[in-house]
């Protein structure tokens, strides 16, 4: 895997990579920094870096103003629930499309993606009515189903591409050795598929976590996740960027931490897959 490179070259690449990464990360960093400034300091111009008025009052206010744990828990249930349910349905589908492709497999994949083509605003009323009729409005199960279905095509697509990377010869070999379908899946495919599944999972949890149209439209109190929490922090009677930044940081933090931890898993999984 690792290629031998001179330290100098590694240093140069490291510097370049960090520079690029920091540029991309900067707006997020700026948001986090802003969340610790007073409102007046947040919009000061020229912008204040080190000399800013640092404070925790935004967090105190945001925390005191709404029931963060409830929004947070709803976000967790909805994003994790929809992703797991989606994986449950998508893994068999992607597996069979990758390893037993038919003439129509590509059309089927494209069709799945096409279910996402309707602009959200155009189906606002139909969706609203459907959720009311079925009693799924403002329920976590309703949002789990909605987000699962919304992201299912993406899950299938990603899994399909990852599964495609698994060389077919290995399956052939396993079959020659007399492995049945069940064993083939459990002992041969699963270990190789884990990294792909893991990154699909992470990506879809994030997609669900960040969904901010339907999660606000289809909830009121009981099932409202962090997107609704955020939507209550652009207060129009005074400055609000610091508070909005604090609320955003509170919404970003859990997923950032999740990303951080799963990162190690991901890397290990990838290495494992590549070693074969």
């Amino acid at each position: 895997m690792a290629r031998k490179v001179s330290t100098r070259r590694k240093l140069a690449f490291t510097a370049a990579a960090w520079a690029v990464a920091l540029i991309i990360f900067f707006p997020v960093l700026w948001t986090i920094l802003t969340s610790f400034k007073t409102e007046a300091s947040a919009v000061a111009s020229p912008p204040e870096f080190l000399g800013a008025d640092w404070t925790l009052e935004n967090y105190v206010e945001v925390w005191g103003r709404s029931d963060y744990p409830r929004f947070f828990w709803n976000s967790v249930v909805i994003s994790v629930g929809s992703t797991l349910l989606g994986l449950l349905i998508a893994i068999p589908a992607a597996w069979s499309m990758a390893f037993v492709p038919g003439k129509r497999t590509k059309d089927l994949l494209m069709w799945m993606l096409s279910t996402k083509m309707m602009p959200a605003a155009a189906v606002l009323i139909p969706m609203y009515l459907l959720f009311q009729w079925t009693g799924l409005f403002d329920t976590r199960i309703g949002l789990v189903l909605a987000l699962m279905l919304m992201n299912l095509p993406v899950i299938v697509w990603m899994l399909y591409t990852y599964f495609k990377e698994i060389p077919g010869e290995i399956l052939e070999a396993a079959r020659m050795d007399g492995a049945n379908l069940r064993n083939e899946i459990i002992y041969v495919l699963t270990p190789m598929a884990i990294p792909g599944i893991a990154s699909t999972m992470l990506l879809n949890i994030i997609l669900a976590w960040n969904e901010a149209f339907w999660t606000i439209t289809l909830t009121t109190v009981d099932a409202a996740p962090l997107s609704a929490f955020i939507a209550s922090f652009s207060a129009p009677q005074g400055l609000f960027y610091a508070k909005l930044s604090a609320a955003s940081t509170m919404a970003i933090a859990p997923i950032l931490i999740l990303g951080w931890f799963s990162q190690k898993q991901l890397v290990r999984g990838l290495t494992f897959g590549a070693v074969k």
Binding site: Y128, Q132, D138, I216, T220, A228, A235, Q237, G238, L239
Partner: protein, 437 residues
């Protein structure tokens, strides 16, 4: 077994409804995230102490999102909310459609006659009060006194447009990043069109004549747009076509706007030293006029209403009475000071000497009283509403017109082109909606 269980469940349900076990009437209140509403959520202990049998669930959302959710719910009969926070644009339309519960039977201590007449008028349809005002606002001029002094000018409390233009010119100092005047430029019926409609009122222009014919082809509108574009391009901040309420407030708090015309509710933030280092230098004046008898100020009240689909109307009325009567104002004053009392709803508040001592109290009440929703323009009009026209089609139409006008401000269209486009679009939409026969 199942029978008894069902009977038992039925009995419990009945009990919950009957007075004895009313411990858990839950009402869902949808509200905007304005400071006054947030403050109310912090004072709920008082409500629970008085009404232990009612539990309030809050849905707090930003204005645009709130409006979208609440409208969808009420128009489809969803019944998710028991109390809605809506504005003076929605109340007459929804009231007429029978979507709102009348509030005529609130208890006597509500003292409906204490409501400011202009505000009350805007929330009443055919003699029925359909919403109770939580706070009312108008618009006025705020400016930096130190800059006015430096420029050697004074701004009277009752300025004319010529005075405003001259003041803007005198105070502009682009080198120092000081802009003479900040006005709303961002497209939207509640953004640039709210301001432009009031400016039009004072210039003798109007949206429609008595036969609902759009009036953008009239000379008054040309005067409005010419002056508006000229003022903002000469003395306004660059990029004004994307500045709405929030952007202009930020610029004012930073002291970059020498003068600004916007909502009276921002007075609290402007005079708050924690938010602005120019808090001590803020001067206020009424919205300007053009000598035609109408000032360019609007009238808006965020109000609480009960949808007809609510299944907890009595509890909701109890809540609305608590949140909008005089005792609530006194409660806020005792806990958070008079400056934080929701303004602009009750005569008695402005009669209170402690409140009247606030620097913006008198101008707020004068501004509100100067607005007349039933007779907003110099010429007669077939509609109700000061900075809006209370018909369902207005929000969509005015947003489209607002886009055209923001393009004129950005210099992408001339004033004449913009007005011609606005006229053609309005005629088309009003014809399609059946107003123009």
């Amino acid at each position: 077994m199942t029978m008894t269980l069902r009977a038992l469940l039925g009995a419990t349900a009945l009990l919950t409804l009957s007075g004895a076990a009313m411990a858990e009437t839950t009402i869902t209140v949808a509200t905007v995230n304005n400071g006054d509403m947030i403050r109310m959520q912090g004072l709920m202990d008082d409500f629970y102490a008085k009404h232990p049998d009612i539990k309030v669930e809050w849905v707090t959302l930003e204005e645009n999102v709130l409006r979208q959710n609440v409208t969808t719910d009420i128009a489809t009969g969803g019944g998710q909310y028991d109390v809605l926070t809506i504005g003076t644009y929605e109340v007459p339309i929804w009231g007429k459609l029978g979507w709102l519960e009348s509030l005529n039977d609130l208890p006597a201590d509500y003292d409906v006659d204490d409501l400011l007449p202009a505000i009350r008028g805007g929330l009443t349809v055919d003699g029925n009060l359909y919403a109770s005002p939580f706070y009312g606002e108008s618009s006025f001029v705020n400016y930096r006194k130190d800059l006015a002094e430096k420029a050697g000018i004074t701004i009277s409390e009752t300025p004319t447009w010529d005075e405003i233009k001259a003041a803007a010119a005198a105070m502009t100092d682009t080198e120092a990043g000081i802009y003479g005047i900040c006005l709303r430029g961002k497209a939207g019926w509640g953004e640039n069109m709210a301001f432009l409609t009031t400016m039009a009122n004072s210039y003798g222009a109007r949206w429609f004549d008595e036969n609902w014919m759009p009036q953008f082809d009239q000379p008054e509108w040309k005067a409005v747009m010419t002056d508006y574009v000229e003022m903002l391009t000469k003395y306004g901040p660059p990029g004004a076509s994307n500045n709405g309420y929030n952007e202009n407030l930020t610029l004012s708090l930073q002291g970059k706007c020498a003068m600004r015309m916007d909502a009276t509710v921002s007075a609290g933030a402007l005079t708050d030293p924690k938010q602005s280092e120019f808090a001590g230098q803020v001067g206020f004046a009424l919205a300007p006029d053009a000598g035609l008898g109408k000032r360019a100020n609007w009238l808006w009240a965020w109000s609480l209403a009960i949808p007809a689909s609510s299944d907890a109307k009595e509890a909701s009325k109890t809540f609305i009475n608590w949140a909008t009567n005089k005792d609530y104002l006194a409660l806020v004053a005792s806990k958070e000071g008079w400056a934080n009392v929701p303004p602009g709803t009750r005569t008695s508040l402005y009669a209170n000497p402690e409140y009247a001592a606030l620097p913006f109290a008198k101008l707020t009440i004068d501004s509100i009283n100067a607005a007349d929703p039933t007779n907003p323009a110099v010429k007669p009009v077939p509609y109700v509403g000061v900075q809006f026209v209370a018909i369902p089609e207005f929000a969509g139409l005015a947003t489209s017109v607002g886009e055209i006008f923001s393009a004129a401000l950005a210099g992408q269209k001339t004033v004449d082109e913009a007005l011609a486009e606005a006229q053609a679009l309005s005629v088309e939409e009003m014809t399609a909606a059946g107003y123009i026969k």
